[in-house]
Symmetry: C2
Subunit: 341 residues, 2 copies
DNA sequence: CCACAATCTGGTAGCGCTATCAGAACAAGA
DNA sequence: TCTTGTTCTGATAGCGCTACCAGATTGTGG
């Protein structure tokens, strides 16, 4: 009846079974050099046989790595952030690390110090918008903790980052709309504070000018990456006497706003107005018509972040500040067609 | 220039400053009794002054708690799961614990053993559908790790759980539809494997019978909590010669399916067909018309889970198997109106 | 053959904390 | 006064592991 707790197996047990010293076992576990192949194998066999798992706490206390990676959030909700979480978990699992998540509350900024001091993180991943929080960046730098920022806005010396090719993606989307026959293409920007927003706008501009199309300032509105701001922009653009035949919104939420407003204005989508989004949130498939958009490889970005962290650990003195850029993907759905005229 | 790593402050430093022994400091830190108030205060002052943070690894290694709570996911995406994550992070922060998240991969089931052996979790929170995974439940039970399951389907001896009042909520919603004047009310169930699904169906049934309304089996279809299964159910119900004037779907995704299909069939929503959902996902506000639904207190459930874990630690021998039930909230939006006839 | 380096191996001192024990201080009753 | 119990305090032995050092073993060139 009594299902006793299985005896704790320590490194000493492994050493005994393998017929070596604890030092040697430790060496094998940490993949150090200077271990003879036969002993290495013996240790591995013993580990297997005893089903031994090294204790993270003891390792952390004695050594300098904790095998813990911190993932800092402002708010984990939404497709984007939870996609990052998923990717990070996957990759951590693969490399035998563990993910500790923490909310970064604006009201209690020094909690980050507590967090970093209590758990000696091996590395930290910063998600937007936390990745641009100066206090946090400083706290991390001060402690010399390897850090990777995902889609940061502002630059930060010597910190690695993972970004996507916003410019190219926006360029591709705009080009696609032009290739359908659109010449009157509106654009709704994101929050201009955000680097992504600017890059997407630039990509749109580049495609327009490269195709000899003029930008009509009446059709370019500044949104804020939210459904509400998108509504305002859509109203402004679609209230004008001359309307564009297509609108490219900087993200899916704002594209959804455009659909809503077009509906209110009695403008048929996509027949009278093509709409393109960016991000490929789940809502992009749900809205009617479903959104032609740009799919961000969110999970891959998190995976890349963890990989980057491992590289930094192994080679701390490289120049890691150059961002890693991942490619995005064009997704064709129902919200874009050739102009009707 | 050189921003030196701040000297590590240990419990010994605190002891020296406070003029007591490390034992006493430890006692204060762990809130043990048998410490004179004046010494306690001296220690607290010293902690404050030195900005001391206890090292989690040392505490875990020496003691029996790790101050880490595990949150196990099948997939963290979607409003529901990321809401849980947010709640759990919040509450952990409040009580000075930390959240370690892990993906439970079906392909590598023994990874959970590794996980549990490596990091001695103080407690574990199981999210659906992981909370019904037998292997994991066994692994946890075997180790005697305090566990709380969120919205579990199947019972499990001696394990705490957090649930919502599905029955009452479904009853309320159905009653609301009836009060509008609907008598022909269809229902789309969730995955029948899931306990939630059955309870919601029962709530609907109870309200119908209590109001003297008969159930029309033509209008009750078995879905699977997904957008796709919802589409099928909607098609089946709305293809019938006699259609209901309202459909209550067991979750928002399936309610969204009904909107889509009604649209295809040329049925006006809500004028000709009222639609109610359940869960209050973000999509409930986005779809057109926005969904009248039941809001689940997702974050609160996670908060309750962490609290429960703390209670279990403090009082391990209580009967914790009784589920904690949280109340849900009726949310009125645009998808439901009185029948037109 | 030796000298010297390169490659291995084991012993052991902690990492920072808690658990445990022995004993001090104090209170209350005989 | 001396018990007896209760409250309080400090010394110290680890928790399981890695870092470091000292020594053993092997390889290489003169």
């Amino acid at each position: 009846m009594s299902n006793e707790t299985p005896d704790k197996i320590t490194i000493a047990d492994v050493a005994r079974v393998a017929g070596v010293s604890v030092s040697t076992v430790s060496r094998v576990l940490n993949n150090e050099k200077y271990v003879r192949p036969d002993k290495k194998e013996a240790v591995q066999k013993a580990v297997e046989k005893l089903n031994y798992r090294p204790n993270v706490f003891a390792r952390s206390l004695a050594g300098d790595t904790s095998f813990l990676i911190g993932l800092l959030f402002d708010d984990p909700r939404g497709d984007y952030l939870s996609g990052l979480l998923r990717g990070a978990m996957q990759q951590c699992q693969r490399v035998g690390y563990h993910l500790v998540v923490e909310l970064v509350d604006k009201e209690t900024p020094d909690q980050i110090d507590t967090f970093l001091d209590k758990l000696q993180m091996s590395g930290v991943i910063l998600t937007p918008p936390v990745c641009d929080n100066r206090e946090i960046l400083d706290a991390l730098t001060r402690r010399g903790i390897p850090t990777v920022r995902i889609a940061p806005e502002v630059p930060c010396d010597g910190m690695a980052s993972i970004v996507i090719d916003n410019h190219r993606a926006a360029f591709t989307m705009t080009n696609y709309l032009i290739s359908l026959g659109h010449t009157d293409i509106g654009f709704i920007t994101g929050d201009t504070e955000h680097a992504d927003a600017g890059e997407r706008l630039d990509g749109y501009r580049a495609a327009m000018s490269e195709n000899g199309l003029e930008l009509n300032p009446d059709w370019i509105e500044e949104g804020g990456f939210t459904f509400e701001t998108g509504l305002d922009c859509a109203v402004r653009i679609l209230s004008r006497p001359n309307k564009p035949t297509a609108i490219f919104a900087s993200n899916d939420e704002m594209a959804a706003s455009v659909i809503t407003i077009a509906d209110k204005f009695g403008i048929k989508v996509p027949e009278e107005l093509s709409i393109a989004g960016f991000d490929d949130l789940t809502l992009a498939s749900f809205v009617c018509p479903s959104l032609t958009t740009i799919h961000q490889p969110v999970e891959d970005m998190a995976i890349a972040a963890v990989k980057r962290l491992m590289e930094i650990r192994e080679n701390p003195n490289e120049g890691w500040q150059k961002p890693t850029t991942l490619g995005s993907k064009f997704v064709l759905r129902r919200s874009t067609v050739a102009p009707s005229s």
